[in-house]
Symmetry: C2
Subunit: 288 residues, 2 copies
């Protein structure tokens, strides 16, 4: 049996009891390490689960799936994923390989940022399509996520923005030299995400485009969601550019139309200087 086990969002104890029982039963346990991270490392998980973990980077999952699935028809293998197992595309691929190899699989779900973000006070069913923000390079500055956010806002919907994670990336120089030397991991912060959005807004304003959001749009910065030191800050986009939310992971929510109950919840986590803006929201953009 192949067990795909969600680890949830905080530390070692965020695994479900069912998940922990499955992990302890398995003869090989892989930990997927390239789509998300917990607030604790491999060693803490190994100690808590009582199992040695094999780190599974993108190469192993996408090209070495046979190794992961080896003997899983006659023994139990676990594949651990931070959050819920079906957040990332590549895991569908692993499941399909298992199915085609006649290996039964079982999913043990857990919280994902896609649902846990509801704790910021915005209603989950008022979210539109989720978008991803990638680190811009000098030559690649995609803006399609901005258009999706505006489309959601036009429909009155909030947008969850997942922020880029770069783990085990090679510099172009090292890649060209064939050197397997990896850059330090990078995790996009709410500041960086807000900065990208503001750059897009400014450029489009200069081009005379009608804006679907501005520097004053109420957003929510979310850091270490589900962890003991989780931080949630409701503020304007420009306020979030200079708001330090600490260690990764970060996510950003751009609000759509706010319901009064949502405004009340945002106030619980609002920057003192953002309160005034939420009062303005109250008066202007709230639907009743």
């Amino acid at each position: 049996m192949l067990y795909l086990v969600g680890l949830g969002l905080g530390d070692a104890t965020d695994i479900t009891v069912k998940g922990l029982q499955a992990v302890r039963r398995c003869c090989r346990v892989y930990l997927e390490v390239y789509t998300s991270v917990l607030t604790v490392g491999k060693e803490a998980l190994e100690e808590y689960y009582g199992k040695e973990l094999i780190l599974a980077d993108r190469d192993l999952v996408e090209q070495g799936a046979d190794e992961i699935l080896k003997d899983a028809d006659v023994t139990d293998v676990a594949f651990l994923v931070v959050g819920d197992p079906f957040g990332a595309t590549t895991h569908s691929d692993l499941v399909l390989r298992a199915v085609h190899a006649g290996i039964p699989y079982r999913v043990i779900h857990n919280a994902s940022v896609m649902n846990a973000v509801g704790c910021c006070g915005l209603q989950l069913y008022n979210f539109g399509e989720t978008v991803s923000l990638v680190f811009w390079t000098e030559t690649w500055r995609p803006e399609s996520f901005y258009d999706k956010i505006c489309k959601n806002r036009t429909a009155g919907l909030h947008t969850l923005c997942l922020l880029d994670i770069k783990v085990k990336e090679q510099s172009i120089e090292n890649m060209m030299r064939g050197k397997k030397i990896y850059e330090p991991p990078r995790f996009m912060t709410v500041n960086q995400a807000a900065d990208q959005l503001i750059q897009i807004i400014q450029r489009r304003r200069e081009e005379g485009e009608e804006l679907g959001m501005t520097e004053d749009t109420v957003c929510v910065g979310v850091a270490r969601l589900g962890a003991d030191d989780q931080l949630i800050r409701a503020a304007t986009l420009s306020q979030l550019m200079s708001c330090d939310l600490g260690a990764p992971l970060h996510s950003l929510v751009v609000t759509g139309r706010l319901h009064p109950l949502e405004v009340d919840m945002l106030r619980v986590n609002a920057e003192p200087n953002a309160l005034q803006h939420l009062q303005e929201v109250d008066a202007s953009t709230c639907c009743s």
Copy 2:
């Protein structure tokens, strides 16, 4: 401390270790019983958690919140919610009451249908706004969910349809007589949801309206998501009208534009007679 603890989607062991530790520490433990249900009842949970549970119906949560929050500033109280605590609006209200009473609160997340539905093989970030289907009555047959589904489909997005749950409802007769007699609980099935959608499609077709979906649209019926006997069926809407998925809870997904990897995953759970239709989807509506 008020702990809002998600129970996940299956049985007693789907609680997280962190959640279980919190529950065992609390002096009062409430179980919210009107927005969702597990596959096991109160007694099984009490035995597993080692705690007596107080059932919290809508009346208690919405009107008796003070009772739930009593002494929670000096002792620990848990409020258990099937899935994740922030799926339903009324729990924001409980949090706000706690905040205003100076009671600290903590959320312990878990899987929700909003993210676990990803196991059907459709990518979570390709979902648009979530909709709710309510039981129609003779005089109240809302259709707004259909328009939202079509809007999502126009944008290429899938739609998660949450199906109505009626727990502790009074008949109008008993309500008028002031009798606190409750009807048996009702849970909308995928069949009933498909039937409502098809009625809307037929009516609008007769009125000459351009249709955003038809009886042949590929949908996914999901039953007992996360439980040992979970059932997932990919089929056309009309096929789902006569597809028995067994005991509650059910959910329905209406697909938007399908990615080839999503089609492959749907095939794993497709009705044999729906395979042909998925092949047609392959050829016609897939984006590359």
